[in-house]
């Protein structure tokens, strides 16, 4: 029987990452959905980068940036007394970067068009922007939120390359399931590799299944 702690660590990493992404991603996607700034394409291209870059590129830059010799990594060591690389926090940062487009793009798509019109209507009825956002935009974009959250979660579950480069393979801290599977395969321990792979496959399938089930039940946009 394989060590299940790596699975639990993977789920924890995906949950924390998704939560952080939701906090950062919502305002950013909102801004992108309504801005006419000429910098918009630049920002959009930057956000989409993790879709096309090899994880080794992200991993390499993260390794450099998190090093205590680098300004960011050095600051972190000063502030917390621990290095950022090889830590759970480091993996969260890596995963947030890696899954960024999976949160932003569905949200941005959901926020565009009808939602913006509804917001203008709400404003004409003197609703405050914040009030309108939570009572009009969020319910209308429910499907976008579900897609964004589930894709970010599932994508982080499947993370491998970035963790391999900045994780250091530490039990309970950075040895996520994908890394453990890799090591099991490399040491010809196929029984454990099979067990872990199957569990991960089932979790991933169920996660994605839920989102498609949800999308079937709910229309793309709730019209007012």
């Amino acid at each position: 029987m394989p060590d299940l702690s790596s699975l639990w660590l993977t789920v924890r990493l995906a949950l924390v990452t998704t939560f952080v992404l939701l906090l950062i991603g919502t305002p950013l996607a909102w801004w992108l959905a309504q801005t006419r700034s000429r910098f918009k394409p630049v920002i959009e291209a930057l956000i989409a980068l993790p879709l096309v870059l090899p994880p080794t590129v992200l991993g390499f830059y993260l390794l450099i940036a998190m090093s205590p010799n680098a300004p960011f990594g050095g600051f972190w060591l000063q502030a917390t007394g621990d290095t950022l690389s090889f830590s759970f926090t480091g993996l969260v940062i890596g995963s947030v970067v890696y899954s960024f487009p999976f949160m932003i793009q569905p949200l941005q798509a959901a926020f565009e068009g009808p939602v913006q019109q509804a917001m203008r209507t709400a404003a004409s009825l003197r609703a405050s922007r914040l009030d309108a956002f939570f009572t009009v935009a969020v319910p209308m974009s429910l499907r976008g939120f579900v897609t964004a959250i589930v894709l970010s979660f599932a994508h982080t579950l499947g993370e491998f390359g970035v963790v391999l480069m900045v994780g250091g393979n530490i039990p309970d801290r950075t040895r996520v399931a994908s890394i453990e599977i890799y090591e099991n395969v490399e040491t010809l321990n196929y029984a454990d590799a099979h067990a872990l792979s199957l569990i991960l496959l089932i979790i991933s399938f169920l996660t994605l299944f839920c989102v498609f089930l949800f999308n079937r039940r709910f229309p793309a946009h709730v019209r007012l």
């Binding site: 290095t83 900045v166 250091g168 090591e183 490399e186």
Partner: protein, 256 residues
């Protein structure tokens, strides 16, 4: 509509032609007989780079190099990786390959005796001090240098004291990179990697005395698929020549 369809035909033909062309180009192998593919444990890569130049200058053969941890390369060979020669960082895996008839009986010899080194400090006392947050070693399950490091830490009586500081590289090359990029303050690496640095690196290091770790006997073995391959046989012969042994010695290895 029709005229447009017709005008598209040459474009489609050209596209198919290009596809087939690139497919053929991808399939066309370089004359396989003249190239020897060597799977090498990460620690020996710097030395092999030099050997490659020398070997290619002396013979008409070409050398292709695949780098990894000994354990990883072993697993790849068991599952049919197209390598001709395996330069392991231990004796165990080459012996096992012979037992499994993946390697040629009688072809095994020790090509180098590796030395382990603590990089980043000149005293092992530093290992357990609080300012050292992370210590890089190669994964002991995959890499003999990782296993040797584990054994050394145990003989120093520090296993429990520094257990939580250890970070594992996939092979000794990644352990080296962790220290080199500053992410780990200390690391157990092979002496050959430090000698391989040509930028006048002044990082202090500690050379453990011989009674604290067993010299790392690294064995070479000819893989069964290359049994009759002239290039592979030539490389195995070359690796035992005095010229090759000189180069190996210059790279921080002892020789049997």
């Amino acid at each position: 509509m029709l005229s447009r369809t017709v005008s598209e035909v040459p474009a489609i033909k050209l596209f198919i032609f290009l596809c087939l062309g690139s497919l053929l180009a991808a399939c066309a192998q370089p004359a396989a007989q003249e190239t020897v593919t060597v799977a090498v444990a990460a620690n020996f890569k710097p030395a092999l780079d030099r050997l490659e130049t020398d070997f290619e200058a002396r013979t008409e053969f070409k050398l292709d190099v695949v780098v990894g941890s000994t354990g990883k390369l072993y697993a790849q060979i068991v599952y049919g990786a197209p390598y001709d020669v395996f330069l392991a960082a231990d004796q165990e895996r080459p012996v096992r390959l012979i037992e499994e008839t993946q390697a040629v009986e009688g072809s095994r010899f020790t090509y180098a005796l590796g030395r382990l080194l603590l990089w980043g400090t000149d005293t092992p006392a530093k290992l357990s001090t609080p300012e050292i947050k992370r210590i890089a070693i190669a994964n002991p399950n995959l890499a003999p240098y990782g296993k040797a490091a584990e054994q050394l830490i145990e003989r120093l009586g520090l296993t429990e004291a520094i257990e939580t500081k250890l970070v594992l590289g996939e092979n000794v090359g990644q352990a080296f990179a962790f220290v080199r990029t500053g992410n780990a303050q200390l690391g157990f690496v092979s002496e050959a990697q430090i000698i391989g640095l040509d930028d006048g690196d002044m990082t202090p290091s500690w050379h453990p005395p011989a009674d604290l770790f067993d010299p790392i006997a690294q064995d070479a073995v000819l893989l069964t698929r290359a049994e009759d391959k002239p290039a592979a046989l030539a490389f195995m012969t070359y690796l035992q020549s005095d010229d090759a042994r000189d180069i190996i010695a210059q790279h921080g290895y002892d020789l049997p």
